[in-house]
């Protein structure tokens, strides 16, 4: 018998737990040449703002040992273009679409949430953890009071399930996770990138124009596993785990730590087929271990 990879998050059934991490999968079109997008559990979009955002100056990316720094600064086409062009394109795959929402102020988040509430997106992921924009983003995500307030405000105006995306750049991530839960979040996702910096010793300049950037990739995986473990024990809502997942083993580790869903991000840059390999590897593992459903593994570390 084929092992059952399906999971249910906030009432939405995904045929497997594997999603794309926001901002690493473009508008969905870019990776269509390398694998069948309809095999994914869900597609998570790039951050969507009320209007087009320019993003940061270049250089925006830098390689680091087993990882990378990015300071894209949430360049995006804005919610109207997303709804007119990207969403219809993604809809053809029949895969749940999770819209990642960003803004400079509570009002901006709410503008986007309101517009997306009338669309076919399956869930909203509220990015209160982007380290590369000055206002909004991480300025909200490091303060439990603000996390709770924005969650409540979003929940008040939408019927869509709400995921709050948490920042690892805090002393105790359980506090912001609990604040999201208290505000009515249906789910939390973690981790966003860790703030880092890289300096060119020859020119004695910052490598990134933004000076700092978000660290992602295998380098952050152990940190992410630990945080998913901590958060899943602190809250009662489901957790989506991400951070450096590039193989089925990495994904299973995250699930054993307590994640119901997982996302593949930076790994796409090293292997455009990484997500499919994760799905196939999980199937093989479950069959070999004679486990009938992946749901049995959620939080099953001892």
């Amino acid at each position: 018998m084929r092992p059952d990879l399906s999971v249910c998050i906030a009432g939405v059934t995904l045929k497997n737990p594997v999603m794309t991490a926001s901002g690493t999968f473009g508008s969905g079109k870019e990776y269509g040449a390398f694998f069948d997008i309809s095999r994914l559990g869900a597609v998570v979009t790039k951050g969507i703002a009320p209007v087009p955002w320019k993003g940061n100056p270049v250089p925006r990316v830098a390689e680091t040992p087993s990882g990378m720094l990015n300071a894209i600064g949430l360049q995006g086409p804005g919610v109207d273009t997303f709804m007119a062009e990207d969403l219809p394109y993604l809809a053809q795959y029949g895969v749940p679409v999770i819209a990642n929402v960003c803004g400079h102020s509570e009002e901006e988040y709410l503008t986007v949430v309101e517009k997306l509430s009338d669309t076919d997106v399956s869930m909203l992921e509220i990015n209160v953890s982007c380290p590369n924009v000055r206002e909004g983003g991480i300025a909200f995500g490091t303060d439990p009071g603000k996390v709770c307030a924005i969650t409540q405000a979003v929940k008040k105006i939408t019927k869509k399930p709400v995921i709050i995306k948490l920042s690892p750049n805090v002393t105790d991530i359980r506090e912001t996770a609990k604040a999201a839960e208290a505000g009515g979040a249906d789910c939390v996702s973690l981790i966003n990138t860790l703030i880092g910096m890289k300096i060119d010793v020859r020119t004695r300049r910052f490598i990134l124009a933004n000076r700092t950037g978000g660290l992602s990739g295998p380098a952050i995986h152990p940190v992410a596993v630990r945080m998913v473990y901590d958060v899943s024990h602190a809250v009662g809502i489901p957790v989506i785990g991400m951070g450096g997942i590039s193989t089925a083993e990495d994904a299973l580790e995250m699930i054993l730590a307590g994640a119901t869903g997982i996302a593949v991000g930076t790994a796409f840059f090293h292997d455009p087929q990484a997500a499919v390999k994760v799905i196939e590897g999980m199937e093989v593992y479950l069959a070999e271990q004679k486990i009938s459903s992946v749901r049995e593994l959620v939080g099953a570390v001892s």
Partner: protein, 274 residues
């Protein structure tokens, strides 16, 4: 992806690799995607080193279309290219290509074309020359008269790949130290020898491209330049590699274009060199 052919991800076979200078390598690969590749496009090279995640973008230098081969000429600039320089005949390497848009070869028809290359911007100019004179095929059915395409090449010091060009066409040559050709940069050579042109394709350091762009603008010569930027995905997904343009991106509605998909070749008047 702005009309570019979908790229292919594959394991390519190394046909040969040799050093042209102390730190410049010439690599021939056998790949399946040669038929859809055009001059000015590039290929992402994935390293067999899990600690270095990001692919290295290298421009297509030349074609051997009948044998399904592509040539790359690159400088050993750091650890990634050093690892690539160790590849030997028969080895395999994971690549994705062709990427980006490439030069608008169809605009060459009926024109006197000047290919301007500086330093490691020289290799992709050779592919333009080769493809300009390839037998007419279904995609670009025009035949250029001999000598319609000339090259202007600028080096810091000792030239490499010079005979690849001079065997096929006239070369306006400049070196910064004066060791060969005109002393100065490639525009010095072009001006001194009054190189004729009604179309310019250029690749090289940004300062050179800015100078070439204003040279072309002054003379109302259509000009296309190939830009370089730090990349992560190479396929338009991460928005890491943008260049400032004067016009807006039709999807993102901001004056930034992705070098990896909307470029690397841009119409020079649209590039914001400031």
């Amino acid at each position: 992806m702005s009309g570019n052919a979908a790229p292919t991800l594959e394991t390519a076979r190394v046909v040969s690799q040799e050093a042209l200078t102390e730190d410049t390598m010439s690599l021939w690969l056998e790949v399946s995607f040669v038929p859809k590749a055009r001059p000015g496009q590039f290929v992402s090279f994935y390293l067999d080193d899990p600690s270095r995640l990001l692919p290295r973008p290298i421009s297509i230098c030349d074609f051997e279309r009948r044998l399904s081969l592509l040539r790359f000429v690159y400088r050993i600039a750091g650890e990634g290219t050093r690892q690539l320089s160790l590849l030997r005949t028969g080895d395999s390497v994971r690549v994705m290509g062709p990427l980006g848009n490439g030069y608008p070869m169809e605009e060459m028809a009926g024109k006197r074309v000047l290919l301007i290359g500086g330093g490691l911007g020289i290799p992709p100019m050779l592919g333009c020359l080769t493809d300009a004179y390839r037998e007419p095929c279904d995609r670009e059915s025009f035949r250029l008269p001999p000598k319609a395409v000339n090259a202007a090449l600028g080096y810091r010091s000792a030239p490499f790949m010079l005979s690849d060009f001079s065997e096929k066409t006239h070369v306006y040559l400049a070196t910064e130290d004066g060791s060969a050709g005109v002393k100065g940069n490639v525009l010095t050579a072009i001006r001194e020898e009054m190189a004729p042109s009604d179309l310019i394709f250029a690749c090289g350091p940004k300062r050179m491209l800015a100078a070439v762009a204003s040279y072309a603008a002054e003379r109302c010569i259509p000009c296309y330049v190939s830009l370089e930027e730090r990349m992560a995905c190479g396929v338009g997904a991460c928005l890491g590699c943008v260049a400032k343009t004067k016009s807006e991106d039709p999807h993102y509605h901001v004056p930034y274009r992705r070098v990896c998909t909307d470029g690397p070749v841009f119409y020079a008047p649209d590039v914001d060199f400031s």
